[in-house]
């Protein structure tokens, strides 16, 4: 097997992501997919830092830095401005972390989705507020250590299901992706680019620093997340038509995914079993959703098109 990705780089090295940063690689792939005619809107997130301190900048496309809660609306504004100037061949992408998406930016995101603003909204999810010192977010999985959910009282709430929230908006396209499957990820950005309206892409992007794991395992952990069904790779059109894009080859237990990460070191057998159960449940639910075929229902189809 061999990866084929577009050769052209639209990013420079020298950016200040930690060694083995999943978020940095995610941006590299996304820009390879979208091409030069792209503008990026960054709210407060790791990428605000990664892009480099003044006077430096690491992308070969324009970036607008904006406030924490405003990624979606700022992107929609940029898009509207471009439209008015008649420049409608430019893709505008909001690029936010899990904090800026699931917590702080959710209102603006929901608003843009409700209006079906023509943007790609990417959440690169490293499951906590990483650059400010690893504080928990609503994307932090249950059982994980963060500096605000210490080992004695790790996070007790499950990860918020942002994909379902976005699907509920019935936007044209929502998808998950991760770095161990670059072609899938790149294809999804290309597909999103070809669709008008709000597109939401949720990228599982490991943070070796915050997850307390060896940086060289970055890709491996993405693969394990998918193969254990912790982070299934799927897409959903119009909030209705689900398809699972990567079907795990073998059933691997979640412990294989949890083990290499220091943030789960304190978990005991019972906790792991519980995680396994909830993963199995979610996976079954997703398979059920993906098995439904709405193309047969004229009613639903005609409604969905609107």
């Amino acid at each position: 097997m061999r990866f084929t990705v577009p050769e052209k780089e639209l990013m420079f090295p020298g950016h200040v992501a930690c060694p083995g940063c999943g978020g940095a690689l995610a941006m590299r792939f996304a820009l390879k997919a979208l091409g030069e005619k792209t503008m990026v809107v960054l709210p407060a997130c790791c990428w605000t830092i990664i892009d480099g301190p003044f006077p430096m900048h690491s992308l070969q496309v324009p970036v607008l830095h904006t406030a924490f809660e405003t990624a979606a609306i700022a992107a929609a504004g940029v898009k509207a401005g471009l439209d008015i100037q008649g420049k409608n061949d430019i893709t505008v992408m909001a690029w936010a972390g899990d904090g800026g998406t699931l917590d702080i930016g959710i209102q603006a995101l929901s608003g843009a989705a409700e209006r079906n603003d023509d943007i790609i909204y990417t959440c690169y999810d490293n499951e906590a507020y990483m650059n400010t010192g690893i504080q928990r977010s609503s994307a932090t999985p249950k059982g994980a250590w963060t500096t605000t959910t210490p080992e004695k009282t790790p996070k007790s709430e499950p990860k918020k299901n942002i994909m379902e929230i976005m699907n509920a908006h019935r936007i044209p396209y929502c998808a998950t992706a991760t770095l161990a499957y670059p072609e899938d990820l790149i294809n999804k950005f290309k597909k999103a680019q070809s669709i008008r309206g709000t597109k939401f892409i949720h990228i599982f992007a490991p943070c070796p620093t915050g997850w307390k794991m060896a940086p060289d395992l970055m890709i491996k952990i993405c693969r394990l997340a998918v193969e254990t069904n912790i982070f299934p790779i799927y897409e959903c059109e119009n909030g209705l038509n689900y398809s699972i894009n990567i079907k795990p080859k073998n059933q691997i237990p979640v412990v294989d995914y949890l083990k290499p990460q220091g943030r789960f070191r304190h978990l005991i057998q019972k906790d792991i079993e519980q995680i396994q159960k909830s993963v199995d449940f979610e996976w079954e639910l997703l398979q059920y959703r993906a098995s439904r075929d709405f193309t047969k229902s004229k009613n639903i189809q005609s409604q969905a098109k609107k």
């Binding site: 420079f12 090295p13 020298g14 060694p19 083995g20 590299r28 480099g52 430096m56 940086p215």
Partner: protein
């Protein structure tokens, strides 16, 4: 090309307030920021020795020619093999392929069918590629005793490099055991003749029917040639030392096979016993079958201890040949007139392990019994004839004393192959022949030694491979093949060879799969020159590239130990 060679980086001057832009806007790129200084470990491209190559006595670059076959570059693949093994059509057929035994893929599903791919390339090359011409002649003369695989390999590399080579061979035809030992159903004589054309084209001189020791002495050769290479093999049949061994109807395995291979038909009866458990025994039994007899192999230990190669035993059994285990001959039974009637045997059981590590067979008292046979073939092993050697050459218990490179105690006399090791294999003889040639040519630095630790299975990243089955080596059905001496294995097709080579992991050897380039978060793997290189100005040493290299062609080393550039 490094990033800093490709881009001129602007360094904005920001000394006074007016140098600053009116709003927060970037003025240059992060190329200014040399994140390479963060590094504690650095990745380096470092190809390693895969187990197949390490185990092959000629150290064929298996992983590399598999890669070439994948890309349909058959000419390159053929040329690459010839660098290490001049006669792949031979090893592709008769080599016991230790490479496959050690192949890392065996731990994943099934080892690569290396010898089948090798044979395909070898046969393709024999058909399509003109034979090599020798380099400009050098004034160095070399006498080689014996035209078996050891002598053939030495002759090839020496003649190719312009040396003056003469082979002295006692038999009328060339090839040693390849011609007179191994039966045609495993190695057709035509293949051997075609391979010999390489030596003829290189101008090697042959003196057949010249028995060194009788027709010409070793001392004589030493006087007339700059170097002498002894490669006369192990041809003495080991006697069974039992009564009536000399009776008519008793054959030695080597004589029997040699007769068949010379186009004669030995006079054997219907029921034939073959004594022994090595390859000679199996070949003799399978040949008997093809002559219309009913062979039975009698062996004094169990199948697990048989020195014959397991594939060969399987093939014999598939052809319906019976093997009686744990029996040893006591005497050949004959009528008063001396006519052979059969053999008296004694049952054996396994005792403690002997020097070879195999359990020693011990006789079960009073268990003697007799079986009726029309002919008996004794194939319990071969020994080296040491009588031709001059007194000043050091010997061992079983042969000529020589080191890995073939050096004997006397300068300018080398010894290679079975005459050094006792009966071994074709590919070991090829390897020894090549090493001696390299030594004489003054290329001793090119002699590859076995490494302690070739690439391990655990060092590969198997995420990038799918389970597949080996392409089975095509062969003639048993019912057809046991009636004649036609070749049993018919060989891979081009498609077979390609499919099989696709399965190779390329352990430890970069095959430009692009993974490292794709997965680097710091854009520090560059490939615009056609070769991969790291941009150490920016690489942070995360090690993702090394981890995701499927074949362990990247090694992480401590930055402090990296050589200063």
């Amino acid at each position: 090309m490094k990033w800093l060679e490709k881009y001129k980086v602007q360094v904005p001057i920001l000394e006074k307030e007016s140098d600053y832009p009116n709003w927060a806007i970037s003025m240059t790129t992060t190329l200014l920021n040399h994140t390479g200084t963060w590094r504690i470990f650095r990745p380096i491209y470092l190809n390693k020795i895969p187990p197949c190559n390490n185990e092959c006595p000629t150290n064929e670059k298996i992983q590399s020619y598999m890669d070439l076959v994948k890309q349909d570059k058959l000419l390159e693949a053929y040329k690459l093999i010839l660098e290490d093994n001049p006669f792949p059509s031979i090893t592709g057929r008769v080599c016991y392929h230790p490479c496959e035994t050690e192949c890392n893929r065996k731990d994943y599903d099934e080892s690569i069918g290396i010898h089948c791919v090798e044979r395909f390339i070898g046969d393709w090359g024999l058909k399509k590629v003109p034979f090599a011409k020798p380099a400009t002649k050098r004034k160095v003369s070399i006498a080689i005793i014996g035209s078996g695989p050891a002598g053939m390999a030495s002759a090839y590399y020496l003649a190719l490099n312009g040396f003056n080579v003469t082979i002295f061979e006692k038999k009328a035809k060339l090839g040693g055991m390849l011609r007179y030992g191994i039966p045609a159903y495993r190695l057709p004589k035509k293949v051997l003749d075609n391979e010999f054309k390489k030596l003829i084209t290189l101008g090697v001189k042959f003196r057949t029917s010249s028995l060194v020791g009788k027709d010409i002495t070793l001392d004589n050769l030493r006087k007339n040639f700059d170097f002498v290479i002894i490669g006369h093999g192990a041809h003495k049949n080991r006697p069974m030392v039992i009564p009536n061994e000399e009776a008519s109807g008793v054959f030695s395995g080597l004589d029997f096979l040699s007769q068949i291979n010379s186009g004669k038909r030995p006079k054997i009866g219907k029921k034939v016993a073959i004594i022994g458990g090595g390859n000679t025994a199996i070949d003799a039994a399978r040949s008997c079958l093809r002559l219309g007899s009913i062979p039975t192999i009698l062996y004094r230990r169990t199948r697990a201890e048989m020195p014959a190669v397991s594939d060969e035993i399987d093939a014999a059994e598939a052809e319906g040949i019976k093997i009686e285990f744990l029996v040893a001959p006591v005497k050949i039974t004959v009528t008063k007139k001396g006519k052979l009637t059969g053999i008296e045997l004694i049952k054996m059981k396994l005792g403690r392990p002997d020097a070879s590590g195999r359990r020693r067979p011990v006789p079960v008292e009073k268990s003697n019994f007799t079986l009726k046979f029309d002919s008996i073939i004794s194939a319990i092993g071969e020994q080296v004839d040491l009588s031709i050697l001059s007194a000043d050459i050091t010997k061992t218990e079983w042969g000529v004393k020589a080191d890995f490179i073939g050096r004997t105690n006397i300068q300018n006399i080398f010894a290679i192959g079975d005459c050094v090791t006792g009966p071994k294999t074709v590919v070991e003889a090829f390897g020894a022949g090549k090493r001696t040639a390299l030594q004489i040519m003054g290329n001793a630095d090119k002699i590859q030694h076995k490494v302690e630790r070739p690439v391990q299975y655990s060092e590969l990243n198997l995420d990038y491979f799918e389970h597949t089955q080996k392409v089975p080596p095509p062969q003639m059905p048993v019912a057809v093949r046991k009636k004649n001496f036609k070749e049993v294995h018919t060989g891979y097709s081009n498609v077979n060879a390609k499919n099989e080579s696709e399965r190779c992991f390329s352990c430890g050897v970069c095959n430009k799969c692009d993974n490292c380039f794709v997965v680097c978060p710091d854009l520090s793997v560059l490939k615009d020159t056609g070769e991969y290189e790291f941009d150490y100005d920016y690489c942070k040493g995360c090690g993702v590239c090394a981890h995701e290299c499927p074949r362990y062609a990247i090694t992480m080393i401590e930055e402090s130990k990296a050589e200063v550039e």
